[in-house]
Symmetry: C2
Subunit: 403 residues, 2 copies
């Protein structure tokens, strides 16, 4: 007997028909002799609808009460799915955040799950029960409702898998797995059968929004096997494992991109210790997420040029902060708000020589200019002109045999 977490996202439970369909998936798994804990999101659109209501009351709606408000969305899905399963003669029951309880710590709207009581639910599973748990929420030690951030149902699913020591955690969603690149942009994109946690993390942080990153991190930390698969087809999904479980025949697993970036260069910054901290501390305080940072010696050799990328939306705010901050001295500031970041990701890269060279050569062949470069163990990112995005992805996809 296998104990499984099945997580169903908002689109998967987005209508009555789809909830019936999800009930069939669960019934099939249960009939095969598996113990099932289902984690569900709010029906598609519901959370946004509730947020809209709160904003109509008050733009800065109280975070404690917002958590009370939003948590009702998953509660509704839990009850409807339990009802649909009971209709199929299964002994299903919704277990609400306070009934389990799902204990969290941290701020409202940004809490972390730290524990759940397992005995009652394990007994229920022993009695052939099907457990339905609301994603995205919990309660604090003071007995207040908390939520764990947008997309938090993935985190709930992985936490349940860890705490209940399940054999696996299947993430049902509206795509049938993780792709070598965005299949909407590049039709030759291929579904990846197996991928390592760290590759998945690089891909999801780079815009392949199949799964919430922190959930993948938790799964990696506790070595919980994940599978991302479609609610709407019977096809195999993408299995996510430790790197050791994967036989790398290719150096590159996927090509990711992120749009809406902007590049800023501070020209002629005084080159002395602490200058970078002076630049980035106020940005961090203003919640501006700095992505790539590249530092070059400036032409006059006494100063340095610092280039970094941020989200395009933050550009105006960033320029203001840089201009107002008297601790930052520089000659000039330039920026480009029409850039995108293209990354090749692959755990096999580290053992394959020449990947960097092949990437640069491939882009040069297409006359695509590289504006900045950043590397990590399993990732190589370049900033290019936004207009070259699709051509660059296509070229890299072909060069690294992903077509």
């Amino acid at each position: 007997m296998v104990k499984k977490v099945l997580k169903f996202g908002g689109t998967s439970v987005g209508s009555i028909e789809r909830i019936h369909h999800v009930a069939q998936i669960i019934k099939k798994e249960h009939d095969e002799g598996n113990q099932i804990i289902a984690v569900v999101s709010a029906m598609a659109g519901k959370t946004n609808e509730l947020i809209d209501l709160s904003k109509k009351i008050e733009e800065n709606f109280d975070k404690r009460e917002l958590d009370v408000l939003l948590s009702s969305g998953e509660q509704v899905t839990c009850a409807l799915l339990a009802g649909a399963l009971i209709k199929l003669n299964l002994n299903a029951r919704s277990w609400l955040n306070w009934q389990i309880p799902i204990l969290t710590e941290g701020d409202h709207s940004n809490a972390r799950i730290i524990n759940m009581s397992i005995d009652k639910i394990n007994n229920f599973l022993q009695e052939n029960g099907v457990v339905i748990i609301p994603g995205f929420q919990g309660i604090s030690k003071d007995g207040l409702v908390t939520t764990i951030g947008r997309g938090g149902s993935d985190a709930t699913a992985v936490a349940v898998a860890k705490i209940f020591d399940t054999d696996c955690c299947e993430i049902y969603t509206d795509v049938d797995g993780v792709y070598s690149t965005d299949p909407n942009k590049i039709p030759v994109a291929k579904k990846i059968d197996k991928i390592s946690y760290d590759e998945m993390l690089e891909l999801s942080s780079l815009g392949a929004k199949v799964m919430q990153s922190s959930a993948v991190q938790t799964a990696m930390m506790y070595n919980i096997p994940l599978e991302v698969k479609s609610t709407f087809t019977n096809r195999e999904g993408t299995k996510i494992f430790e790197r050791e479980n994967i036989d790398y025949s290719k150096s590159v697993t996927g090509v990711a991109y992120s749009k809406d970036d902007a590049k800023i260069t501070l020209v002629g910054v005084e080159d002395k210790p602490g200058v970078a901290a002076n630049i980035f501390e106020p940005l961090s305080k203003a919640q501006i997420n700095v992505d790539m940072v590249i530092q070059n010696i400036s032409s006059d050799e006494k100063t340095t040029d610092i280039t970094f990328t941020i989200k395009r939306d933050d550009l105006t705010k960033t320029k203001e902060i840089l201009k107002q901050n008297k601790r930052i001295k520089y000659k000039n500031i330039t920026y480009n708000n029409k850039v995108s970041k293209i990354s090749i990701v692959g755990a096999g890269m580290v053992s394959t020589p020449g990947v960097t060279f092949r990437m640069f050569k491939g882009l040069a062949e297409k006359k695509i200019n590289i504006l900045a470069i950043s590397t990590s163990e399993i990732k190589l990112s370049v900033i290019i002109d936004e207009k070259n995005t699709v051509e660059a992805i296509k070229q890299l996809h072909t060069i690294f045999d992903l077509d």
Copy 2:
């Protein structure tokens, strides 16, 4: 300082604008130095919307899960109202069924509130806090969500008033009080300033659906002063007290009517002990609510005729049960499914001679035939042809000086 329960029904919190308006009412009460516990319903239409969803899953949706589903409606209102009050700089907080907890016993969808923990909430009130509580729901001793029946927010409000020993319980609704008869049908209907619990009970059980009857019963049992008033005007509402507190200048307080009745007569029933029980026991088991019962000696003097009224919807089922039940012997069965019940209600009736005569004479003047009569200490009901309903109400309203 006065401790008050303010209950707001679904229409009163039916939109964002109305929730803001309710927040203003609460702020005004709080600014006057009162301790406020607000009990709220789901936003108008929300409960029906959730029921519709459940019926789309399964016509006989599991009652335990239905309670989980429906209770989300009041949770949403609680959070939104708390947010609106916090915007007004009040220290408001939603207290959910399990956070208080509101302990209930009895079946799902039909539970009764038996207790609440008061210390935490009393402390919060002492600290100038405004308490928001969801109506219509609680939890069982096993920690399951329960609901207490449609209109149950009134019952929650009265239970809160009793358990927290508040000075009064104000029921805010979309009408500005209790009327001498239905103001939609009879434009000269007058708002009643003061009414006793038992008159209110007769009026509400007879179709004046301003407040849920069982809530009025509880208020009567514990002598909790009620006031029914409009959320949308500043006018005084109707105060509901013990009879002693009211100075009766009129013998009749109001004229109630109930539509959708049907009258059944069993002709020639054997006249011996236990025959009535034989008739009504199977109806009771089938959840058919028998209202008035009248028994006459039949023309042949060895048998009797038994007439009773039921809801029109139950007519087919009732006839079937009567025909199938072999323990019931009678010569003939007649029925009239187009009748209505008109009642005059007044605690002053008992001390005023001639009320009965004046009623019958008034109806006779309008040539309205009386098909059955039933009396109680503070009520006198007649069954008449449905087509005479409005004329009968008008006539009685005039005769008893209610215009």
